[in-house]
Symmetry: C2
Subunit: 491 residues, 2 copies
């Protein structure tokens, strides 16, 4: 049954049926309730949420009237196959009702409110970026210049949709050092790891197919699979990583097309998937013909000890699709990543790739080969790894000073962001509004959940702030949190 994170606010002046209606509308618009999905019977849902049956019925009816749900006599209530055809006024231009022309599978894609940004940013804790002052500007200039001087003619003739052959070879060599054996023809160069996820979705997901993802988990992976029509199933994460026991239980009753995971440093919690769970996950994949997508996006930015070898190192038969990226090690805007996959799948992906964009910018691929060959890339990664680790420790110290009560966080195994649970006494919505008002940019936890949960968490990145900025930003965050806690106690 649908596990709803809806919590009625009985103190609110908004009637309960409207609260539930708004909550469900959000899930549908975000694609988290997929078209065609059946909703629980009003009686069941009312019981599980502690609401009156009439409250649930009223919410369902309003959503049916809006065209978002459809009731079929004797069968139940379902998410409507398409949104309402009438164009919203904003969607019409010169007589064309664009909203009504949108395809179903992208109609519901939407950024959740937890991705909102203050009008004026004073402290930019947004994760996912790199420190702009440390950008390897000179190294990139040298690499681009060399690449064009050496390969200008070959780059002009380049047609291989798998990618620039010297980069595929360099990736295969670099992976050997990490324990992964792959030949260059098992490597597909992609426009960032994101495109690897998108191509996997295009080639493996039929609308309605279930994809299991970590909860909390990487929202852009959810976006990629949702845009292929996947039904997203959240698998909880604890201190040992993805709960493979929950996955195993699910697999007993339903087909899951693929499992997406970030084992080196789980996004966003930063925990490492432990050894026993890795074995269990690989066994589940083999038993159920369910490929694993291993997104190794930040593993080179380890904070402490050397990372555990990739899942892919224990995968002689190709059930792990391994995605990596050079964007974090250069500039996010480089959009150069790679996918290691078995050949039958890669052959199919080449066609999907030709359909989508023919290939990744060739000059950037050749420049990265130069940066790998000169050692510039490794030196740069070593430099920023130290930088981010120091900043994470500084943020950790500042949060200890700034935050009251039972706030919880830990330094991640790798990367450049912290996952913070707010103190329980602080009202999460007040904290969020306070942060937006104060000019503190971060990402709220609901962005990392498929069911709207996680509003009491923040993901705080350290790439855009130096240690002074981190300390000041953390202090401001602390003040906002304390204010929200006081108000809650007062209320």
């Amino acid at each position: 049954m649908l596990d709803l994170a809806f919590r009625p606010d009985r103190a609110s002046s908004e009637p309960l049926h409207r609260q539930l209606e708004g909550y469900l509308r959000g899930l549908i618009r975000a694609g988290r309730l997929a078209p065609g999905e059946k909703l629980p019977a009003t009686r069941e849902l009312a019981a599980s949420l502690g609401l009156g049956r009439n409250t649930v019925a009223q919410a369902y009816e309003s959503l049916c009237d809006a065209g978002l749900l459809a009731a079929h006599v004797g069968q139940g209530t379902f998410v409507a196959a398409r949104g309402p055809r009438a164009a919203a006024p904003s969607g019409s231009v010169g007589g064309f009702a664009w909203d009504g022309l949108l395809a179903s599978r992208t109609r519901w894609l939407q950024w959740p409110p937890g991705a909102a940004v203050p009008k004026e940013i004073r402290f930019d804790f947004r994760p996912g970026g790199v420190d702009a002052d440390s950008a390897p500007q000179l190294e990139l200039r040298r690499a681009y210049s060399r690449a064009l001087a050496r390969h200008g003619r070959a780059l002009a003739a380049h047609r291989d949709p798998l990618g620039w052959p010297p980069l595929r070879e360099a990736v295969a060599r670099a992976l050997v050092a990490r324990g992964i054996e792959a030949s260059p023809d098992q490597v597909l160069i992609t426009s960032g790891a994101q495109q690897a996820l998108d191509l996997i979705g295009r080639c493996l997901i039929d609308p309605g197919d279930a994809v299991a993802l970590e909860q909390p988990g990487y929202f852009s992976a959810a976006l990629a699979f949702a845009s292929s029509g996947a039904h997203l199933l959240g698998i909880p994460v604890d201190g040992r990583g993805l709960r493979t026991d929950v996955l195993a239980r699910l697999l007993r009753t339903r087909r899951i097309k693929l499992v997406y995971t970030t084992p080196a440093a789980q996004c966003p919690t930063g925990v490492v998937l432990d050894d026993a769970r890795r074995e269990e996950l690989l066994a589940l994949a083999a038993e159920n013909q369910t490929p694993i997508v291993e997104d190794d996006y930040d593993s080179e930015l380890r904070v402490g000890a050397a990372p555990m070898p990739a899942l892919k190192t224990r995968d002689p038969d190709g059930r792990v699709l391994y995605a990596g990226t050079f964007s974090k090690a250069t500039l996010p805007g480089m959009r150069v990543g790679y996918l290691v996959a078995p050949r039958p799948l890669l052959q199919r992906m080449v066609l999907a790739r030709l359909a989508s964009d023919f290939g990744t910018n060739a000059v950037a691929q050749a420049a990265i080969v130069e940066m790998l060959a000169s050692g510039d890339l490794e030196r740069h990664v070593r430099r920023v790894r130290k930088l981010y680790a120091a900043r994470l420790r500084a943020l950790d110290a500042a949060l200890r000073e700034a935050l009251p009560g039972d706030a919880r966080w830990q330094i991640p195994a790798a990367g450049s962001a912290l996952w913070l649970r707010l103190p329980r006494e602080a009202d999460p919505d007040r904290v969020w509004r306070g942060l937006l008002d104060a000019g503190v940019a971060a990402v709220r936890g609901d962005v990392f959940h498929v069911d709207g949960a996680g509003r009491d968490h923040l993901h705080l990145g350290v790439a855009n702030l130096d240690e002074v900025g981190l300390a000041e930003g953390a202090a401001l965050l602390g003040r906002v949190v304390k204010r929200a806690a006081r108000k809650r106690r007062a209320a």
Copy 2:
């Protein structure tokens, strides 16, 4: 009704029902008969092809046995919703049956045989490339170096999924010169024009939606829309371009989601869509809420007179989605293009873009801004425009020498390739085999058709051959054609 280009070869030793079966299998595999599509009744098809009804029934039965068609009693015969689940041996790796895991919408994507390439290429007439010796190597080095020196920090922080703002502004300015009024926030930078087509498909096409394309027409556009599950409808082309009368007739009886066209120099015929048809096309779009995709891919490479203004210049209300590219003016591997579209659609595309790859390589975008600002790009385009025009004239002269009989071609309005109809006395399949054996690489006409027609045409590009190569290649082509003609007469 399905318009089949099947021509039974009564001289062949292969039984007619096998010939028909093979032809239909090809259409299904190529996605040209979409899953769920209804086939004509055996009686109808037999009558229209001049075959016995039993012949058609035998072909249908074999395809049902193979799982490619499904017969529903009282309803007719349909293309099966999915291919057979059994994995081909080639698709299995280490116990994973990858063929069985593939998604329906990419399962059928396939390059047609007319895209085959000789083992050893002696004369490379393949279209779509650029002259490697003329690649603007120095200009690109200068542009990359300047872009990184000036904008290294901003490039590291760049996050706008619409694209690098200075490039969006530069595109908007460049389009004003072509008569198109667009503000920078109506411009989406894409990874080549191909990605513009793919994003249009993602945002507008539901599986089964009809997309009308020129026939012959650009195969990669067909691939992009097919990969979103579009049902492709071919609209014939004559000396005045797309047959808008045929489109109008179709629109009377069925909904068409969008129309794809290359009005400046139709791909592959090179004809210009004339004035009256432009007006008619725009009127049909408005009447039917059917957006037009105008792919203006080669218009800067005009051969003779200045090109007619884009369709988009007559489009005050945004019914034309205008796609252009910088790849042809720099390197195909640059993968930088753009789409001009109304804002409601662009907002949706931004989400589809985040799902697919976050954005186009930022350094390449900034480098193109530098090449535009310095005038290097315009100078380079002027240079290669002259080069390709001269080569097209040289190929034209060489073909006049080399080809017998009633072969037909004309110099295109723009671009770097010729569309050639082989002489009627030459057997197209013999010509094709002869070319592959002789090391002549070109693209056969069936690649440009959704129904397998066009095998008697070749698309010949001039970017990879100098005038000597073109003359020698054309002479060899002439010998192959004459041999095929002699054999046909002898047979």
